[in-house]
């Protein structure tokens, strides 16, 4: 079987793009059509273009029909965990859009940013749990990759929150950064807990490492507690351990802005001099680890170099080093320390994407951050939400794109498109589109148009979205689709209802016409429960009005309001509201009224009726041709003449009425006699 291949977009580069083989017997040439977002519709175009081997193929696959293949990618990115993320973050995103700029804006932004982080963190935990619970290896691998990605996202997000939202004023950044380190190295706390619970903590292989890490993260209290448990430490004796304990105890800590910078600086300088003094006195010389710690406290370069494996990353190293060398550094100056810290990690360490992203962030190079994240993450969730947050924090304003709209909108459109490519997330996607002022509405319209409204309920949900977004045309088109569907299913009532909602006058006219022709044929009105309760808003064209009025005539007639019904009937004819093809039907309806003992038509109305009758004949609506001896037609024409007679008699009757009562009675008798004969003739036919 011949088949064709398609190169799918990849999250990395064109070189490792995955290849999909489409089993298409006609597949000599595939023609793809973009379905928007992450989908293609592919069909073969080889048919009708005979090539050398096409005839053979045609023979082999004579029974098969050319097909349209729907191709979608990145669908597996969506699982219970990521869908939870999408839905939860949608709530935060929408709350964020309602934030008013002004006083306290940054505080509320920071709050929302923390909500985002909580959601990412929950997603990471969910993914870990899902990976543990799943027995499928490929699935586990998938969960693991996603998990890593979101862990990185969380790390980046937290740093952005610090740099772009919390410390915009250029305030002291170290306390925030320490929290950042603590949060993203949770194993330190776990180890500390584990060691503290042991009988002989110092025997634990990580005892000293954990103490050093705690100190490097500024958690001196916890470090002291662990140090306290060392067996070499003696109570009542002032030794190296006590000295270190004192240094750690006295270390000035800056909690978020409690002291002024100068006050803190003074205390910190004093403390540092004390450290240097004790180190130079050689108080810790006999204790290797304490010596190392003391060197760290003094900010010694070599000591930090030794501790680089402990820190695990250049940014960890940077923050810890700054804690002991320049604790009041401002966020803007961090960039000066990034590259030296990287150098300190050693030359053999490869610089990865994450390093570049963090570096760009420290340099406040937001376009670079966005470009790196979008090109390397393979999902739009992270960067779209981050960019939106930064936009609200006023950090994205200067970055206008040369194409399309703003950076924020571009990223939101991409993310929303990826949501729309999923079968079920279109309601979430729609809200994102609506937050894109330039292209959002247009994108939304295109995507919503591709959703097939399978049921009334779905259609109503789509219509609500259209109303909310001001997409009136699309709303009409959805109603029209529903009307067509109902018509196909022979649900004429529903079809009419949807056609009226679609405001498509000609469509509803066509269906109303169908109702009338059905009545003309069978003598029964279809969908009476609906036709009887057409409200004024539904009468959007002449056919609908006629349908409603004609039905009203029947109601009046059957409730014996003869005078009113006659009047209505004549007005339907004279106002030219009734389509010509139904005139004859209306004239037939006059017969029983004419036949009545009481006179229900006024003289001018009778004239009108006669005129209509003549017009019907002139129009040749009831021609009986020789070769078409349709029984119905013959009867019709017979009835017509009958009708004419009766009408003319009636007219006479009315004229006579002016002269003599006696004559009138005679006429009536005559009329009845004539009528009965005609009916007999009719039945003979």
């Amino acid at each position: 079987m011949s088949s064709a291949s398609i190169l799918l977009p990849s999250d990395r580069s064109i070189r490792d793009a995955p290849v999909l083989t489409v089993p298409e017997p006609w597949g000599l040439m595939l023609s793809p059509t973009w379905r928007g977002g992450m989908g293609l519709a592919v069909h073969s175009t080889a048919r009708g273009r005979p090539t050398s081997d096409a005839p053979m193929l045609r023979g082999a696959f004579a029974g098969t029909k050319p097909a349209i293949h729907e191709i979608a990618w990145a669908q597996k990115e969506w699982n219970v965990c990521t869908r939870k993320l999408a839905n939860q973050s949608h709530l935060v995103f929408m709350d964020l859009q309602e934030i008013e700029p002004g006083v306290g804006q940054n505080q509320s932004l920071a709050k929302l940013s923390r909500r985002y982080r909580a959601i990412i963190h929950a997603c990471v935990l969910d993914l870990k749990e899902a990976a543990n619970a799943s027995g499928d290896d490929s699935l586990v691998a998938k969960y693991d990759t996603q998990c890593q990605l979101f862990e990185i996202t969380e790390l980046i997000w937290h740093l952005s929150e610090i740099l772009f939202i919390e410390c915009v004023s250029g305030s002291r950044v170290i306390p925030y950064l320490l929290e950042w380190l603590r949060w993203h190295k949770p194993e330190v706390s776990e180890f500390a807990q584990e060691i503290a619970n042991q009988l002989a903590p110092d025997r634990h292989p990580e005892y000293w490492n954990v103490i050093k890490l705690l100190i490097l993260h500024g958690r001196t209290e916890e470090a002291r507690n662990l140090l306290l448990q060392h067996p070499a430490r003696k109570h009542g004796v002032y030794d190296a351990y006590s000295s270190m304990d004192e240094l750690l105890r006295k270390m000035p800590l800056q909690s978020h802005g409690t002291h002024s910078v100068s006050e803190f600086n003074l205390r910190w300088q004093q403390w540092r001099e004390e450290c240097l003094l004790r180190l130079s006195e050689g108080q810790f010389v006999n204790h290797g680890h304490l010596q190392h710690i003391a060197q760290l406290l003094c900010g010694d370069r070599d000591a930090f170099c030794e501790a680089r494996d402990l820190c695990g990353s250049w940014y960890g190293l940077m923050v810890s080093r700054l804690l002991f060398s320049d604790p009041v550094i401002r966020a803007l100056d961090l960039r000066l320390h990034a590259e030296p810290s990287m150098a300190l990690m050693g030359d053999d360490v490869e610089v990865g994407v994450l390093d570049n992203i963090l570096l760009a962030m420290l340099q406040y190079n937001i376009p670079e951050v966005i470009s790196l994240i979008s090109s390397s993450f393979g999902n739009w969730w992270s960067i779209a939400h981050l960019a939106d947050l930064l936009h609200h924090a006023g950090q994205l304003e200067s970055h206008q794109l040369e194409y399309g709209s703003s950076m924020r909108e571009f990223l939101l459109l991409e993310y929303a498109s990826s949501l729309m490519s999923h079968t079920s997330l279109w309601q979430v996607g729609a809200d994102y589109f609506l937050q894109c002022p330039v292209y959002g509405k247009h994108y939304l319209e295109v995507y919503l148009d591709r959703i097939a409204p399978e049921s009334d309920m779905m259609a109503i949900k789509l219509l609500r979205l259209c109303n909310k977004s001001g997409l009136e045309e699309l709303a009409c088109s959805i109603c029209k689709k529903m009307a067509m569907q109902a018509k196909k299913n022979e649900r004429m009532g529903s079809a009419l209802n949807w056609a009226i909602r679609s405001k498509d006058a000609s469509f509803s006219a066509a269906i109303a016409d169908k109702f009338l022709s059905q009545y003309a044929e069978s003598g029964h009105f279809p969908c009476l429960d609906m036709v009887d309760h057409l409200n004024p808003a539904m009468l959007i064209n002449d056919q609908m009005i006629f349908l409603a009025k004609y039905r009203e005539f029947h109601r009046l007639y059957s409730s014996s309001q003869l005078k009113d019904s006659a009047e209505l009937l004549v007005s339907l004819l004279t106002s030219r509201l009734a389509p010509k093809k139904y005139w004859f039907m209306l004239l037939i309806d006059c017969l029983p009224l004419l036949e009545l003992d009481q006179v229900v038509f006024a003289s001018d109305q009778t004239y009108e009726l006669l005129q209509c009758l003549e017009e019907v004949e002139e129009l040749g609506l009831l021609n009986v041709s020789d070769d078409d001896m349709d029984d119905v037609r013959v009867r019709a024409s017979f009835q017509l003449s009958l009708c004419e007679l009766v009408l003319s008699f009636c007219r006479k009757q009315l004229m006579v009425k002016r002269y003599s009562y006696f004559e009138l009675v005679l006429q009536q008798i005559w009329l009845v006699l004539f009528w009965t004969t005609m009916v007999q003739v009719d039945s003979l036919r």
Binding site: M457, I460, E490, M492, G493, H533
Partner: protein, 380 residues
């Protein structure tokens, strides 16, 4: 008076289930029991494959929660699920074990919840109960009502089917409406009430299926589609409906034609309306606009209560009679205190599609793929 605050003592627990939830139903507790329900069924819609799932809340029988007092421990746990063909459009329990599921494919099935091991299986299946006139393509079954041993289903084909569990052919089929029937309730032993897209409520006597509806009640001025209805558990003539325009209407089926009281709270379609089964002075509605309202009419019953000016002049102002037939829902006397309405999910945005309430427990299912459980409702 409308307050936008939670009246539940505990924060609602949201469990994100990874599919949009079309229906949620508490499993009935034994009658007369004062236990809080601990088990519910959900059905999904609009997914690559839809499912019916059974859940257990984190609550133990004595009313406390298993595990820690964290929201994670309070999350409902999945006990079993089964794949379902088409969107789930309605679920109703027959007894504490069996429930009936309606599908957008026009078919209906009886499912059974097995206890050990926890699982759901299909006990009976009716294929294509609802289809277009030529019988070619099936259309959605939109709602069902259970009146053991009979089941009534309605659909987009405007047909009412009366089924008996375990009997293959419908006992009765009525072509009842030229528009989609969206909701149905068995109001008395042989009487049905159906609501349609045309804004009409029709009362049917199934002993005389051919003679047409026994009564038609309708929204007169502006017939918008009705989406859901619920009958007052004690006063059979009181029926509440929710419409596409977000208006809650309360009808007296003994009266002619139009609803007796109408209240606007939602800005879009009401998808489900429920009287509290034990305390029917409490009513709940959920809507496409993302809100879930608790309507509390108990203050109306207290005489001499300080009057508050009405927020919305609503209803047609017909005073109900006194005595046992008095229903706070059927009156609109703004001189006395207004019915209180509270939005239970003020933070929520995407549509809330379904709700069920028993005792002090409420569960609702949303298009944001969450099942939200509230345990400590303030029911008066």
């Amino acid at each position: 008076r409308i307050m936008a605050a939670s009246n539940s003592a505990q924060e609602p627990v949201a469990k994100y289930v990874g599919h949009k939830v079309a229906r949620v139903r508490w499993r009935p507790t034994p009658s007369g029991s004062l236990e809080e329900p601990a088990c519910f069924v959900s059905g999904s819609w609009d997914d690559t494959w839809n499912r019916v799932s059974i859940w257990r809340t984190g609550m133990r029988e004595d009313g406390s929660f298993a595990g820690k007092w964290s929201s994670l421990a309070r999350e409902p746990q999945l006990e079993g699920e089964i794949r379902h063909d088409g969107n789930v459009t309605d679920i109703q329990f027959v007894d504490s074990e069996r429930f009936i599921v309606a599908s957008s494919t026009g078919s209906v099935c009886v499912m059974r919840h097995r206890q050990a091991p926890q699982a759901i299986d299909v006990a009976h299946f009716w294929d294509r109960l609802h289809s277009c006139a030529s019988g070619q393509s099936p259309v959605a079954c939109t709602a069902l009502s259970v009146n053991p041993p009979d089941v009534v289903t309605v659909g987009e084909d405007g047909r009412i089917n009366v089924l008996r569990i375990d009997v293959n052919q419908p006992l009765l089929s009525i072509d009842a409406d030229s528009l989609t029937i969206t909701c149905v309730a068995c109001v008395r032993q042989s009487e049905l009430l159906t609501g349609s897209v045309g804004g009409q409520l029709k009362l049917w006597d199934i002993r005389q299926p051919t003679s047409g509806p026994a009564k038609i009640l309708m929204l007169v001025d502006d017939p918008v589609a009705l989406h859901c209805l619920d009958q007052h558990p004690n006063q059979q003539h009181v029926v509440a409906t929710g419409g596409e325009d977000g208006v809650l209407s309360v009808w007296d089926t003994r009266q002619e034609r139009s609803p007796l009281a109408q209240r606007e709270a939602h800005t879009s379609s009401i998808w489900e309306v429920k009287f509290h089964p034990a305390c029917p002075d409490n009513l709940f509605t959920c809507s496409e606009d993302g809100s879930l309202w608790h309507w509390d009419a108990t203050t109306r019953l207290m005489s001499g209560f300080t009057s508050t000016p009405a927020a919305h002049p609503v209803g047609l102002g017909i005073t109900a009679g006194s005595g046992s037939s008095y229903s706070p829902w059927l009156t609109d006397d703004s001189s006395r205190s207004e019915i209180q309405a509270t939005n239970l999910l003020p933070w929520h945005r995407l549509p809330v599609h379904s709700l069920d309430v028993q005792m002090r427990s409420l569960v609702c299912g949303t298009d944001s793929e969450a099942i939200i459980v509230m345990n400590d409702l303030c029911i008066r």
